[in-house]
């Protein structure tokens, strides 16, 4: 029997980045396929290509033994593919039945409310969904809402369901129930693509796994024949090491950043000390508290417990501005809405956090003359390629945008730096630039917290490596003869 879905030689590039580089993927009817990979490994791109949201540069897709050329999600849905997104597309004020009827195919016919409710009752029983057709969405838990989405797919005769990180918002019991529902769907002959970072779930429910890394197929295996350790290793990968900058004992400066039992929403009891001239690499799968840690350090997230010291100053309750004045620089992961204002100019973005200080201004007034002069200097010094300081940042390349952020943050000669996904979306050259800047800053005696889901970078520039999982630090190790398997295990949430 031919496979339910066959994707052959899928290539999709964004500028210089090959997000999908010749990827093959098959799914059989009655099979649950686990799709794994770190952030930016190309999973979402591949699924968007399948779902008609992105056209591939090349490659073929066959579905139900016929070529599939979905130009939009509508085409994919019509062909029998359903994607269950992390964020549900439901109208909260309406009932389950009404939500299913919304956008029901076969427009023009009279909608049979009663009949549909009966369909829902039957399907709900058959797949163990336990849904009341007359329940209002607003009264349902997140797990139940997800089931409404699954039900919508079933009732529209979807043969292939794509579940994108479906367990990330669920309570443990709901996760177990979802996995049971997936098994029932499998026994009814549906194909399922299960995208997840959580290895135990993947090993529990999947028949086969496909691992992507840096846009390429990194491995494929039957779940029965692979251990959790092997899977972790496959995900993290053993890439060609970048030139190791850190060798031997580093010069230890004064204590620059001291964090004691720092807790916040999504963050529990983080503790570390960082001296000048030291880089602490924080690894981990995205969404395990890294953003929360970065924001709590930068003053953008209320701290519920613990202490943050920047140099000699207690910064625990200090404002963002006060922390900047204490010598803290912050490179946020969210470049488009936080670190930069894309609609504003290079000049505006260079003074974003410094408008009340010379040379950009005083507390009451801006001083454009000296400010523009400084901006020109920074553009030259950091090699920001833009026609001028009045150029809109949104029109620069990703690398040049990040250079604007780096120029602003690092030109202040900070004593402590928090960098979060500082190379995200950058090409190799720009990535190298960012890493070199971090190393230079370390040389100058700054303490650097380098948070990244790119383990390779962490291995290349860190003095110590901490791994975050579930909002806590799962383990710390000096960057010497690092056991990658141990790192992978820490990442997947198993404590040492």
């Amino acid at each position: 029997m031919p496979p339910l879905l066959e994707m052959l030689g899928i290539v999709r590039t964004f500028g210089a980045v090959r997000a999908n580089d010749n990827i093959n993927l098959t799914v059989q009817s009655g099979e649950i396929l686990g799709l794994l990979g770190e952030n930016g490994s190309g999973k979402s791109t591949l699924m968007k290509v399948l779902y008609g949201m992105l056209p591939p540069d090349s490659g073929d897709i066959r579905f139900r033994d016929a070529p599939l050329d979905a130009k939009s999600p509508f085409d994919a849905i019509k062909a029998g593919i359903a994607m269950i997104h992390q964020h549900f597309m439901l109208v909260e004020a309406m009932t389950v039945t009404e939500n299913i009827l919304l956008g029901w195919p076969g427009g023009g016919q009279v909608l049979k409310h009663k009949q549909m409710a009966e369909h829902i009752r039957q399907a709900s029983r058959r797949f163990g969904l336990d849904l009341d057709p007359d329940a209002r969405i607003s009264a349902l838990s997140l797990g139940r809402r997800q089931r409404v989405e699954i039900l919508k797919a079933i009732l529209r005769d979807a043969e292939l369901l794509i579940l994108d990180e479906p367990t990330s918002n669920l309570a443990p019991t709901e996760v177990r129930e979802l996995l049971d529902i997936m098994r029932r769907l499998r026994s009814e002959g549906k194909g399922i693509v299960f995208i997840s970072h959580k290895l135990p779930e993947v090993l529990d429910v999947c028949d086969r796994v496909v691992v992507l890394r840096a846009g390429k197929l990194a491995g494929e295996a039957a779940v029965a024949s692979i251990s959790r350790e092997q899977l972790a290793e496959m995900m993290v990968g053993r890439n060609v090491p970048m030139p190791r900058v850190t060798e031997g004992e580093h010069r230890r400066g004064a204590l620059r950043l001291s964090v004691r039992g720092l807790s916040a929403t999504g963050l529990s009891a983080i503790t570390f000390d960082l001296r000048g001239g030291e880089i602490l690499g924080i690894a981990g799968v995205d969404g395990n508290g890294q953003l929360e840690l970065a924001e709590a350090l930068a003053g953008l997230r209320p701290v519920t417990d613990g202490i943050v010291l920047i140099g000699d100053h207690d910064a625990t309750q200090a404002s963002v501005t006060a922390r900047v004045e204490m010598g803290l620089a912050y490179l946020p992961a969210d470049r488009s809405h936080t670190a930069l204002v894309k609609a504003m100019t290079v000049f505006d973005n260079l003074m974003l956090r410094d408008s009340r200080r010379p040379p950009y201004g005083t507390r009451a007034l801006l001083t454009p003359k000296t400010g523009v002069a400084r901006a020109r200097d920074l553009m030259a010094q950091y090699d920001i390629r833009a026609p001028g300081v009045d150029f809109v940042v949104g029109q620069l390349s990703g690398g040049n945008q990040q250079k604007v952020v780096i120029a602003r943050e690092l030109s202040r000669a900070p004593t402590a730096v928090v960098a979060h996904q500082a190379t995200w979306g950058l090409d190799p050259g720009a990535t190298r630039f960012v890493l070199d800047q971090m190393i230079a800053l370390r040389q100058q005696g700054a303490a650097i917290v380098y948070i990244s889901s790119e383990l390779e970078e962490i291995l290349s520039i860190s003095d110590r490596i901490a791994v975050m999982a579930g909002g806590a630090i799962a383990g710390v190790t000096p960057n010497r003869n690092v056991d990658l398997r141990q790192i992978g295990l820490w990442m997947s949430g198993r404590h040492a």
Partner: protein, 354 residues
């Protein structure tokens, strides 16, 4: 947050209105929008069986035909300019302040009350005190809106609109009570003391309000482009996350922008009362609040561009009276032109964001 306020928040394209970066070509787009709405108006006049050319000539004559007409048009533009600049300051920060109407009404009441309280003050003192009281009253009212918005997280559109009704009723109540003129057949205050009347400009029928308004617009320009506070407003309008990252407190920006908008609207009310009516009259500010929004958008929230925008609306409305008299096309047509302009301007802005 309540559900209706979310719905309102979703319905209002705050992002669309809050521009902070460069606006290449926006002027051209707005000019196009204006031209389109005038074409539509011509079609409407033609459909009414009149000559569009005659209609427009009548408007021009009504607006510019004499020093008296020009003065009247300038007076009409004044409250639009003042309150429009205030609305624009808010829009810069992504705050949609639709409360100018109520702020103008209370500003008028504040100015009238102050002027009546010091009947024997020398002219300059009386005017300054009365206008300051008007600005203060307007700022107090927008402060109430800011407090509810920030404290209870109700969307600012809802708060500012609803407070308009309360403000109008408050003014009514004041006029029915201790600010009212006993024995008048209409809800109005006694005449202001002469010293509080705004002086007229030589050779013109216009009072000095328009000068105050232009100075206010220049001040707003300076605030937006030459102070860290204005920079914060622009950043917040483009991205709240970036504003927080840059160390601008959202509540401080909101308080500041709302207080300034309220003060400018209150000043508009004061100027209207001291310059035109010379007494507080019920409903003197009817419709001004939404004209303020029109003018702010027509000027693309750029204070210097709001000056011509306010003059355009003021002259258009003054001229339309002549059109009604001369060729019998009702002044309501001007409301249509204003509405169409708004639609076309919004479309032009949306088109730019594509």
């Amino acid at each position: 947050m309540s559900d209706p306020s979310r719905a309102v928040a979703a319905a209002f394209p705050a992002r669309l209105l809050a521009f902070s970066g460069r606006r290449q070509g926006l002027g051209v787009n707005i000019a196009l929008a204006l031209a389109l709405s005038i074409v539509c108006a011509a079609i409407l006049i033609a459909l009414a069986g009149r000559s569009p050319l005659a209609g427009f000539l009548a408007i021009l004559d009504g607006a510019f035909g004499s020093a008296h007409q020009i003065g009247a048009a300038l007076n009409r533009s004044t409250p639009y300019l003042l309150s429009g600049v205030g609305v624009a300051i808010c829009l810069r920060a992504g705050i949609i302040n639709l409360g100018a109407e109520g702020q103008i009404a209370l500003g008028g009441a504040g100015a009238a009350a102050a002027a009546l309280a010091i009947p024997n003050a020398p002219p300059v003192v009386a005017i300054v005190v009365a206008l300051a009281a008007g600005a203060l009253a307007g700022a107090a009212w927008s402060g109430v809106a800011a407090a509810i918005h920030l404290g209870r997280r109700v969307h600012e559109v809802l708060v500012t609109i609803l407070l308009n009704f309360i403000a109008l009723l408050l003014v009514q109540q004041l006029l029915a009570g201790w600010l009212g003129q006993v024995g008048a057949g209409f809800l109005q205050s006694p005449l202001m003391p002469r010293g509080a009347w705004l002086p007229k400009m030589p050779d013109f029928d216009a009072h000095i309000g328009i000068l105050i308004a232009v100075v206010a617009a220049l001040g707003a320009w300076f605030l937006i482009w030459r102070t860290p506070f204005g920079f914060g407003l622009r950043v917040a309008g483009a991205s709240r996350l970036a504003a927080a990252y840059a160390g601008f407190s959202r509540s401080q920006l909101t308080w500041g922008a709302m207080a300034l908008a309220g003060a400018l609207a209150g000043l508009a009310g004061g100027v209207e009362v001291l310059g035109i009516h010379r007494r507080l009259i019920e409903g003197f500010s009817l419709g001004f609040g939404f004209k303020a929004v029109t003018v702010a958008l027509l000027g693309a929230t750029e204070p210097l561009a709001i000056i011509p925008a306010a003059l355009f609306i003021g002259f258009l409305e003054t001229g339309s009276l002549a059109m009604q008299r001369q060729i019998g096309v009702p002044t309501a047509l001007v409301t249509v032109i204003e509405g169409l302009t708004m639609i076309f301007v919004l479309v032009a802005m949306a088109a730019r964001r594509k």
